[in-house]
Symmetry: C2
Subunit: 596 residues, 2 copies
């Protein structure tokens, strides 16, 4: 009997742990027909949307178009096994494709085969890093990317990507990885623009903007279509542009008129195999791979969290690291390049009724079929059309309002945003985001090193104490209370010393007691402890007693490890009210004694 219970408990525990590693086990066990219908419908729509997107993003990364398809097959299956989000759709995305191009450019590889192999190595490194971070539960590292830095980086990347695609719309060669380089390069080439290409590009752009802005309303108004169906058609709009311009290019023989087309794309299964491991290349790509991992993770998790919240579900950030890592490893081993969860496709997946990660696996089947049978149809697809789909997609990422929103809220946040945007545009994506993170950390440390200290008094009729300059409060000339608005640590300890002693100097004859109100002090480090000892000593020399009030539990535990409490000339009071009342009364007593 007992052993049966033990076995059962062991099984449950084991199953629980297994389910944590393979979330597929938890939703897979109760998978039903209704869920299948939802997932299958979503998969069809996402497949249609992903075909042009995956080709376009591969070209943006400087890779052959089919690499985009390969990166949209196995990664989706592996995310379905390991992922915790029920709506996230992984695959090639714009920002990571740009970062891939930027990472591979300095390697100066001569052949496209070498370039493709390097992209696979990048995906492998990124996958390994993500898995290791997940196993070590280092998802918190992503928190060091502040919202302003992410917003600035995404906006600048969107601008860079859109600009870089103009060459395909103009049908001219252009190069460069920074905004000035690209613009100068385009300026030099603009004279040799191909008019047929420009026509295709402009028509595709106009159509896609209309699809995005006006089509849904038009379909509802004109054909009485349901809002939802019209919305979905709007999402897969790029497919119509692809089909239309491909047929147009074939019928009108546009390649003869100088319009670049995708051309022959190999047909067949993705090439399975381990990338060739070159140590020096791996070292060169390690830094970019780390940035791609973190940026990709942050983007993916924020999409996943947004969608999960809508259905009151929760995702597990550290498990997401493992899932994205597995996706990237599988991408590396099947001829792909770095992937992550994409915003637009995840929203489409969610809206189209995806119920479980199985929708991703079904999408993978769709793309596998596309890679095996559909690629010959893509021969006449103009590159200008793909560029137009990218431009329309990334312009929705550009949000320059973050500049004034951060300006009106805080100069530090504005500095982080603007430095990230400027450096990303002018120097490069890696420098841009890395500097953004360092600047925001430096500004935080700088702010905490210049602490705010408020002199407080009692709010009449309450036991509450507030700033004497902001509120009408009761004070006592003999008892000064200073509220320290910062954790005390080495960078601000000495200034705190100066501030407190300067305040006491100002009314040195009247002041008998100084209370340091520590409600906002979350830590006191060793440097600050020494400063407090020095303050205590100097105040004692001046005949002033020093007290503390509202010291928090964890801080008090720490102080008890030192001799400070023995040396403190005054007392530690639980509440500021108690401190003020006690000391004021003791002063009153002295005065009345003196009066007698």
């Amino acid at each position: 009997m007992k052993s049966t219970i033990q076995t059962f408990a062991a099984t449950v525990l084991k199953r629980d742990r297994l389910e944590r590693v393979f979330p597929v086990l938890s939703w897979g066990r109760s998978y039903d027909a209704a869920q299948f219908t939802g997932d299958a419908t979503a998969a069809v729509i996402v497949t249609i949307m992903l075909i042009p997107q995956s080709l376009a993003y591969a070209l943006l990364a400087g890779l052959p178009a089919e690499v985009g398809l390969y990166a949209s097959i196995l990664p989706l299956v592996f995310y379905a096994i390991f992922g915790t989000s029920r709506a996230l759709a992984v695959g090639p995305v714009a920002v990571v494709s740009l970062m891939t191009a930027s990472a591979l450019a300095p390697l100066q590889l001569s052949s496209i085969a070498e370039y493709t192999a390097a992209a696979a190595i990048l995906a492998m490194l990124s996958g390994l890093m993500l898995v290791v971070m997940g196993v070590l539960r280092l998802g918190v590292v992503a928190n060091f990317l502040s919202h302003p830095v992410i917003a600035g980086f995404i906006t600048a990347s969107g601008l860079l990507i859109a600009t870089s695609q103009l060459k395909h719309i103009l049908g001219v060669p252009a190069h460069g990885h920074t905004l000035p380089e690209i613009l100068v390069s385009l300026w030099h080439e603009i004279g040799s623009a191909n008019l047929a290409t420009v026509a295709v590009g402009v028509i595709a752009l106009a159509f896609l903007f209309w699809v995005r802005k006006g089509m849904a309303a038009f379909l509802v108004r004109r054909f009485g279509m349901s809002q939802k169906l019209a919305g979905t058609l709007g999402r897969i709009g790029p497919v119509f542009a692809v089909i239309g311009t491909t047929i147009g290019a074939w019928v009108l023989d546009l390649p003869g008129a100088g319009v670049a087309v995708v051309g022959a794309v190999p047909t067949g299964l993705p090439p399975l195999g381990v990338p060739t491991l070159d140590t020096s290349m791996m070292l060169a790509l390690a830094g970019p791979a780390a940035l791609i991992s973190i940026i990709g993770y942050v983007e993916s998790v924020s999409v996943a969290q947004t969608l999960a919240a809508k259905k009151r579900q929760r995702i597990t950030p550290n498990q997401e690291l493992i899932a994205l890592g597995a996706s990237n490893l599988s991408s590396a081993f099947s001829g792909g390049y770095p992937v992550t969860g994409g915003f637009a496709r995840s929203v489409v997946n969610y809206d189209a009724g995806a119920e479980t990660p199985a929708a991703g696996a079904f999408t993978a089947i769709g793309l596998l079929l596309a890679a095996m049978f559909l690629t010959p149809l893509l021969f006449f697809l103009p590159k200008a059309t793909l560029a137009a789909t990218i431009i329309v997609a990334v312009l929705s990422l550009v949000d320059l309002t973050i500049l004034w929103r951060s300006w009106s809220y805080s100069r530090a946040d504005f500095a982080a945003v603007s430095i990230t945007i400027l450096l990303t545009l002018l120097v490069g994506v890696e420098i841009g985001v890395a500097t953004g993170v360092l600047v925001s950390l430096a500004l935080f440390v700088w702010k905490t090193s210049r602490p705010h200290v408020a002199e407080v008094g009692q709010v009449p009729g309450s036991q509450h104490f507030r700033n004497i300059h902001r509120h009408k409060v009761i004070t006592d000339p003999a008892v000064v209370t200073l509220r320290i608005d910062e954790s005390l640590y080495f960078a601000n300890a000495r200034q705190m010393e100066d501030l407190i002693l300067a305040r006491v100097h100002r009314n040195r004859t009247e002041i008998k007691h100084v209370i340091l109100m520590c409600s906002a002090v979350n830590e006191i480090d060793l440097s600050a402890l020494e400063s407090l000892e020095a303050i205590n000593q100097r105040l004692t020399d001046m005949g002033v007693t020093m007290h503390l009030s509202e010291v928090k539990g964890p801080v008090m535990d720490r102080l008890r490890c030192s001799h400070f409490l023995d040396e403190l000339s005054g007392k530690v009071f639980l509440s500021q009210y108690e401190a003020f009342e006690t000391l004021r009364r003791s002063e009153d007593n002295k005065d009345s004694l003196a009066a007698e």
Copy 2:
């Protein structure tokens, strides 16, 4: 009449500003005979003490002995003009000499003349940096060197210096700038130690230790000497060792027995002139110069502040930067090397009765006379004696108790101390101190990124709220108060979201109100604002109202710049007590209404 007042006011203002730049004007105007006597006495004692010290530290820096004398003349005069401390004695010091040696070693200069020129460039760069920092009022930068990092660095430097001097005691060549290098080098050479040199070194060491530990008591006990005089004799003890061993070496012809002596030191004024400016060398020395500047400044200011506090005087840290900068520039232009305020000599200066910085100028005259007339007498001074004075001096800097003091207080401080000590000993002084600073900053950021959140309740009979797990408090199941013990910023915003939502999830049916008590929140940045908006939104979805209490003035000002307060489902209460009372009463009312 009016114009007279204006002229007078202008004069006063101008004088005030002039005095701030040239503090000599403020004390010089009232200089009197009593002050002169004090200053002159102190100057004589400090001169006697500085002669061997300045020679020894120059040798420690790898420079000719006379460079130490040159660095003790003009720098003292310039400090007297610009400095704000009345007791600080500047000149060559042990740690900065070690840092100079460490900065110049990688340049691999072939001749001693080039080496001396490079040391002057180092002093010039350091002087420029200090002046610029002073003008820009960047003295606060020094606050980023935490006490544990400084203590660890000084201790490790003391150990390194003492070890590096053993070669002079043994009379063997040895090289290296890290502890393992020096020890290995000594180990290989120990077989060829010169016995006569060892004898001089050991006698000098034994004498100097006795001078430091037992002589004062002996003189008082045996000769009834006053404590003060005995103390001063103890401080200038090294001079007796210098005189004794020099005479011994001359009489016994110790150079003939293989004892290294100082030899011919050029006689005359310090060589005035601008150092040859070599751009590549200046670039190579910029980093070390910055570290020397900051370390020198921190050491000097802490000595100056300690001595000023004893006489209730104050120093001006930013003016000290300018004064030290001027000292270093003058050192560079007169054949010297980097200098700063030294602890031991400043204490001697203070104890011997120095009243004003004029004592420093008088000391400079003493050393000038020494450089002009005394150097021939130094021919037979054994280098082992100088090494012994250095060893005894620096061992007083070594304080390994900082290791267990920091361990018992906080693991983060211990990590900073031990990393600084280890890297300084094993890799080098620059890496050691730079890593120490970075590690302490990283640990601080890491701590603030993992905030403490306490659930609080009302302390019975008061309006004070404390942690429910530490105190016996009154709570209400419908009103949960969470006190956030950290400023809210990007690195902890997302975790805060998780913590708060997880807490509400636990009792989701009972909880009607969540109060975030913000008494310890000193800042809310844009990322954290977005997290608060998300928390507010999700709590609203769950039917829970969110309130804030005790938001500080500066934080409230910031929130008013955003839409958050309009969107907040609940209210912002001035005090936590008011919030708790109001919400609890409203819940009681609802219950009683429901009961009716």
